[in-house]
Amino acid sequence: MTWSMLFFVLVGAVSLAAAAGVVLSRQPVHSALFLLTNFATLAVLYVTLEAQFLAAAQVIIYAGGIVILILFVIMLIGGETNDFVARQRSWTRGVALGLGILLLASLSYSVFQGFNQPPADVTAIQGGIPEAVGQALFTQYLLPFELASILLLVALLGALVLGRHGTVAHTGSQPASPPPSSDD
């Protein structure tokens, strides 16, 4: 077993454990922290996969942005903890587990059966440094990139509208005349 393999196995094990932790934790806060761990290990794996820019982006966007957002929401809403056993549809647990195993088995089988050739020349991707990725993004993928920025803008506005206090649910049933006072 080479060192790189050992490293992969260790990081992969941590990643899987964190993933299991996300699913199995009772407290949402714990889940969020396990998720953070999972994201971090994935960032490490990205480095080993010649994707340095994405590893950094992973840490910044997921760990730094999304997980923090989730933690904020948990603090806002307060985590309901006792949700693990869904009695009225308890049968779904077994079914879901069975389906997950089935999916995993199918995918593993296909990987082992049809995927054993060695990697191609990795010099082309230049280690996934920001320069290389940026070159691709701003030349060949300029249009999707701009579209992604529009998507983010829309999501921003959508989140703003949804998050506004109290008015969203009622606009549909309000009469056409403007309300007498608008102090919200």
């Binding site: 869904a86 549809r89 779904t92 079914v95 879901a96 389906l99 089935l102 999916l103 199918s106 995918l107 089988y109 296909s110």
Partner: protein, 630 residues
């Protein structure tokens, strides 16, 4: 001029249409005169056709006037065309001539009726359909007319559909009875036409008659003739389908005179004469027709002897006389059958209309036991009725005498036994027709109140009758013995007669007929006027038969038990068991099955996001497994 023959049909049709759409704006006399005028115009056209045919040599007197193609499907062709030959023109003359007189009479008779307009629309429609029946040059067209007159008959029998009394029950039921009984006969007609088409490939009269002798086997021809006989028994009220005609008297009297005495009921005789080629190919069917006619004549005459309703007497008399005609055409005396048809149209229409006058004068009363002594109150009507009765009884030198004797003469050549039946029926005919004269018109009034209020009818209801009366007296000249004008005239259409009696036979049978008629009249005189002892004793001797005859041989009861009630039970079973159980049941089953399936499938849509996610996941797994292993 023959090219204008379509006008014959156009006039009554136009009259019916005009009165349908504009009649509500016209006054009653206008409606009546439009209807009568169109029929009279048709009569004029018929006269024109007659003159046109007379101008042609005998063998050219069969003309087809094509109008348009009605149905063309593959090699099946049913043209709309008129067949102008002596037979159809004769029928058209009778229909339009008698029809026009009855239309005029009906203006007076129906004047106080609230459905006056509708009556004349129906009546014109009837004339139109009857002319289609007699003028069409193919079986299909004849069938259309056949059904059309059936419809008109149904509508007019049930004309007072909202009335009911003890004689007829609901009047609408009488119409239904006529319609349903006629359906049985029409079914035979339809089958006969289908067999003709499949075996000969044509429904045109001339084609069929030309091809039939060569390519129709005797068995098939007999089958067709038997089916046509069934049709004739329905329309012309013969055994076993005669039961509708007495009930048809529920209709207004002009209807009884026009449809149920003079024209429509003779359609069967016309049809047999028209299709005589087929009957000659199936002689056993013709023989059966002759016997059915004879037995019907005898049976109906015996029933007529005991009826007390004036119109019912005439109805059974009509059945009996139709029996004579069927007997005549059955033995091959087509010309004499048509001859009797014509004279019968004259004197029976006269009798019915005179009876209508009696009914009119007595405010609807028809029971002859309540009448009596009407001679002084209604002298004109009495004379008219007497003339009709004389013709019906076969009084020597009246029209009925010659026509009936002609049939009997030919029957004698066919079967002496049948002749005996016919002769005995002639005796009964004379008795019942003069019973209908003596009891209401002679003697003392039996119902004072009724008698005092009796009155003569207005001229519009007597003048047309005088025309008919004259025709009933002199109608015999159409076909005097040895001269045989009508027979020669009809030869192009119905062929030459097969029976040629010797002079001695003919004269002796004429004398026998005359004696029988006079004897019957005397018998009625002795029994109903003088009340001589022996006549009474004769009636007492026949007493045991009376209930049987009075109940019309229980035929109606038999039909009711054997056909009507089982059918009603079947209908009830369908309505109460089959329809709610099987038909509705299957529909409900489908509905309930869908409801139940929906009730179960509804659970899938529980609105819970996880369930939907699970089903998506199941789909993903299945897809992945298909891609990996498939």
């Amino acid at each position: 001029m023959l090219q204008l023959a379509w006008l014959l049909l156009a006039f009554p049709a136009a009259g019916a249409l005009i009165n349908t759409f504009l009649g509500s704006r016209f006054s009653k006399p206008t409606i009546g005169w439009i209807a009568s005028g169109t029929v009279a115009a048709s009569f004029v056209v018929s006269l024109g056709l007659l003159l046109g045919l007379l101008g042609l040599p005998g063998e050219e007197r069969v003309i087809t006037l094509p109008l348009w193609d009605w149905i063309t499907i593959g090699d099946f062709r049913a043209p709309t065309a008129l067949l102008i030959d002596p037979l159809s023109v004769t029928m058209a003359l009778v229909v339009t001539g008698v029809g026009a007189l009855i239309h005029v009479y009906a203006i007076g008779y129906m004047f106080d009726d609230e459905r006056f307009q509708r009556f004349f629309v129906y009546l014109n429609f009837f004339v139109f359909a009857m002319l289609i029946l007699v003028m069409s040059d193919n079986f299909l067209g004849m069938y259309v007319g056949w059904e059309g007159v059936g419809l008109a008959s149904y509508l007019l029998i049930g004309f007072w559909f909202d009335k009911r009394d003890d004689t007829y029950g609901y009047y609408a039921d009488a119409g239904k009875k006529a319609f349903l009984v006629n359906r049985v006969g029409d079914f035979g007609m339809a089958l006969a036409i289908m067999i003709l088409w499949t075996s000969l490939g044509s429904v045109t009269f001339l084609d069929v008659f030309q091809a039939a002798p060569a390519s129709l086997s005797s068995g098939v021809a007999t089958a067709i003739a038997l089916l046509l006989l069934l049709a004739a028994t329905g329309k012309s009220a013969q055994i076993p389908l005669y039961v509708w005609l007495p009930d048809a008297m529920a209709g207004p009297t002009p209807v009884s005179a026009l449809i149920h005495a003079a024209t429509m009921v003779t359609a069967g005789i016309y049809m047999i004469a028209r299709t005589h080629v087929l009957w000659e190919l199936g002689p056993s069917a013709a023989n059966l027709a002759a016997w059915i006619g004879g037995l019907t004549a005898l049976m109906a005459a015996s029933i007529a002897l005991v009826q007390v309703d004036l119109k019912k007497i005439l109805a059974y008399s009509t059945i009996s006389q139709l029996g004579y005609m069927v007997m005549g055409v059955g033995v091959g005396a087509y010309a004499f059958g048509i001859f009797h048809l014509i004279t019968h149209a004259f004197f029976k229409a006269l009798l019915f209309l005179a009876a209508g006058n009696v009914m009119h004068g007595l405010h609807g009363e028809l029971d002859i036991r309540k009448m009596g002594g009407l001679r002084e109150k209604m002298p004109t009507t009495y004379r008219l009725f007497l003339i009709g009765a004389l013709a019906l009884a076969g009084f020597p030198l009246m029209s009925g005498f010659f026509s009936k004797d002609g049939i009997l003469l030919n029957v004698f050549g066919h079967s002496p036994l049948l002749y005996a039946i016919g002769l005995f029926t002639a005796l009964l005919t004379a008795v019942y027709s003069f019973r209908a004269v003596f009891v209401p018109f002679w003697g003392q009034p039996r119902d004072k109140h009724l008698h005092e209020h009796a009155h003569e009818s207005p001229p519009i209801m007597t003048r047309p009758l005088w025309v008919l009366a004259i025709l009933a007296i002199v109608g015999g000249v159409l076909n005097l013995p040895f001269v045989l004008t009508l027979e020669r005239w009809l030869e192009p259409a119905v062929g030459e007669p097969s029976f040629h009696p010797s002079l001695a036979l003919e004269v002796s049978l004429l004398l026998v007929s005359a004696v029988v008629a006079l004897a019957g009249i005397y018998l009625a005189y002795a029994r109903y006027v003088k009340e001589i002892g022996w006549a009474r004793r004769l009636q007492n001797a026949l007493g045991p038969l009376q209930p049987l005859v009075e109940h019309k041989y229980y035929v109606d009861e038999f039909y009711d038990a054997a056909i009507v009630q089982p059918l009603k039970a079947l209908a009830r079973w369908f309505a109460e068991v089959f329809d709610p159980g099987i038909i509705d049941g299957s529909v409900h089953l489908i509905g309930r099955a869908n409801l139940a399936a929906g009730e179960r499938l509804r659970r899938l849509h529980n609105g819970l996001v996880p369930t939907y996610a699970l089903s998506i996941f199941v789909g993903v797994v299945v897809l992945v497994m298909y891609l990996v292993f498939g």
